[in-house]
């Protein structure tokens, strides 16, 4: 503990709230830091896996941040990455087993990408950059904030990809069947856009989101 008198901060002080709001826009893990892109491309074909993925990452990141923060003074500096990996791997196994038990279909859709949460750069990034240097409550807020920033983008991308690519939302058809072009009866005028089912389109959608965000939030534009 430092010797100077520290003012006690309330749990939801302005600084703490900023931990949540910052990664949502100004410091978004996907659109600003460009982390966690692989999963954003891979599991955003449908909305449901994207939501489950966001929740899983939220659990792993928040819990992991707290654990790392609690033991931050015990971890020898030279082996800290290994310790972080052990923590995140244990949490990911928990999530994986939980999904297999209670949401088997989604678990199958997510396949390796649950396991790959371990390698999601956002998680190691937050451990390194934040949890190692801050108290558990702040680390918790930071974990929640970053996973919301990640989840919002993931869900937005998945929303457009499922709507335009498959014509459904959460598996429920939202585009009337009568709109679809029917070669036999010659009716209808609409067709799903198959390009949205391919990962490149996720990249383009993320790009468009970045474009829209920077058009609104001008402080993100780099000087060159």
């Amino acid at each position: 503990m430092s010797t100077e008198v520290k003012q006690k901060e309330s749990l939801f002080s302005k600084k703490n709230r900023k931990l949540i709001s910052d990664p949502f826009n100004d410091n978004n893990p996907i659109t600003v830091q460009v982390l966690g892109i692989c999963s954003a491309l891979a599991i955003t074909v449908k909305l449901e896996p994207a939501i489950v993925m966001s929740l899983s990452v939220m659990f792993v990141l928040a819990a992991g941040n707290v654990i790392i923060s609690l033991i931050r003074n015990l971890i020898p500096n030279r082996i800290r990455i290994i310790v972080q990996l052990v923590v995140v791997a244990s949490l990911v196994i928990l999530v994986d087993q939980f999904l297999k038990a209670y949401a088997y279909d989604v678990s199958k859709q997510l396949s390796v990408f649950v396991g790959l949460i371990i390698t999601n750069c956002i998680i190691m990034g937050r451990f390194e950059a934040f949890a190692l240097g801050n108290g558990p409550w702040k680390a918790f807020m930071d974990g929640i904030g970053n996973s919301i920033g990640y989840g919002v983008i993931l869900i937005a991308v998945a929303f457009f990809r499922e709507l335009l690519g498959s014509g459904t939302l959460l598996g429920v058809p939202v585009i009337p069947q009568s709109w679809y072009i029917n070669a036999e009866t010659g009716t209808g005028f609409y067709a799903n856009n198959g390009f949205f089912l391919f990962p490149p389109m996720a990249l383009i959608v993320v790009g468009l989101i970045i474009w829209a965000q920077r058009a609104k939030n001008t402080k993100l534009i780099e000087e060159n």
Binding site: I181, A183, F189, A191, N193, G194, F195, F196, F198, I204, G207, W211
Partner: protein, 400 residues
């Protein structure tokens, strides 16, 4: 002419910067420069004095495309009437095709120019002429019966993602027309590939023995069948003399395919015109042709199936190879800029085009993908060409 000039003069205050309708300024400017010679002068000293500007370049390319376009119109009409077993005069076929083609062209221009005008207004610059050519190329590489809104969506995507995000005309990494086609191909494969989309058969029963497949589609069915057996003989008979896809038919363009891509002869004519006018690069065309020829030749040596065994020259007459060579690969913005780079770029584009087409029959239009791929690689090629040049000259200095 005074009358037209008056209209432009009168409406100008409305669309100028503080005018009420300044969103229309780019459109006003575009129409005015189309009707009259622009009176702009360069602000700083001119380094090169030449009568050619972007507009004249673009119009030259359009002239080069006209023969293939007119032929394409006639060809869709001819195939249509042949498919439903009707006799039709040359003019009837042509009119049928022209009526099919006109909405396609209109929709493409409207969609593409809409995006361009919006961005010109936002970015305060006049509309560039770049879209004049893309807007005519796009309908020429679409199948005849594609729904118009799909063309519009693809065009908007191409102009937006292929061009405007990089900064507009002259800054684009990818060829916008091919971007539109690639988008349509992946987004709406049912309307862009297969054997149902290339010939319009509405308004009648198809005749016996009708097939709507393209030459490449038929060739793709021979992959995996080996050489010289009864299963492939029927297909390959069409590629011999007198068949549907004989060398002569493919060269003249009497085969099904995207609207403007079929006639190698007229495309080459356009290509010659481009080379003669100095607008298209003969280096790209020549090396593109050689690249395709070498790859097809290599396949021919191994020839484990009929697709590979096809005569290399015949192979190059099919599909979009010729069209890609003359009108797509030569796009001065997305191609390599250095002279040596042009040879490398063209050669690899043709080489990969044939390779994709033969190795993956699901992508009969490998040319499109190969050119887009080489578009992306072009800056890299240029970089190494420039570096090599610097190294060579540095050596010369060191020796002296």
């Amino acid at each position: 002419m005074k009358f037209v000039q008056n209209i432009f003069d009168k409406t100008r205050p409305l669309v100028e910067k503080d005018g009420k309708r300044n969103i229309l300024y780019p459109l006003h400017n575009a129409l005015e420069t189309m009707a009259f010679v622009p009176d702009h002068t360069t602000h700083s000293g001119a380094h090169v004095r030449d009568a050619i500007d972007l507009k004249r370049t673009m119009v030259t390319v359009i002239f080069a495309m006209v023969p293939a376009l007119l032929f394409g119109m006639w060809n869709i009409g001819r195939l249509h009437f042949a498919a439903i077993g009707e006799e039709a005069a040359l003019l009837d076929s042509f009119l049928f095709g022209a009526l099919k083609m006109l909405p396609l062209i209109t929709v493409t221009y409207a969609a593409g120019l809409g995006v361009e005008i919006y961005f010109s207004w936002k970015r305060n610059h006049p509309v560039n002429e770049g879209f004049l050519v893309s807007g005519l190329l796009i309908p020429m590489i679409m199948p005849v019966d594609i729904p118009l809104w799909m063309v519009a969506v693809s065009t908007i995507f191409a102009v937006l993602i292929g061009k405007e995000v990089f900064g507009g005309t002259g800054m684009n990494l990818l060829n916008p027309a091919l971007t539109a086609r690639a988008f349509a191909f992946f987004a709406y494969p049912t309307w862009m590939s297969g054997d149902q989309v290339w010939i319009n058969t509405k308004g009648g029963e198809v005749v016996d023995g009708y097939s709507g497949a393209t030459a490449l589609g038929d060739l793709a069915t021979t992959v995996g069948q080996g050489l010289g057996n009864t299963a492939t003989d029927a297909v390959m008979a069409q590629f011999g003399a007198g068949g549907h896809y004989s060398f002569m038919n493919a060269f003249l363009g009497l085969i099904p395919g995207s609207i403007g891509e079929t006639s190698a002869l007229l495309i080459l004519l356009g290509g010659l015109f481009l080379v003669f006018k100095g607008v298209g690069s003969w280096k790209i065309m020549l090396s593109f042709f050689l690249g395709g020829f070498v790859m097809a030749g290599i396949f021919n040596v191994f020839a484990v199936n009929e697709f590979m065994g096809l005569n290399p020259l015949h192979q190059l007459m099919l599909g979009g190879f010729m069209f890609g060579m003359v009108f797509m690969a030569t796009d001065p913005v997305s191609a390599a800029q250095t002279e040596t780079g042009k040879y490398i770029y063209g050669f690899l584009a043709g080489f990969f085009g044939i390779m994709i087409r033969v190795f993956n029959p699901a992508y009969p239009e490998g040319i499109m993908l190969a050119i887009l791929f080489m578009n992306v690689m072009a800056p890299l090629i240029d970089y190494y060409v420039v570096e090599a040049n610097i190294k060579r000259r540095a050596k010369r200095v060191a020796h002296a």
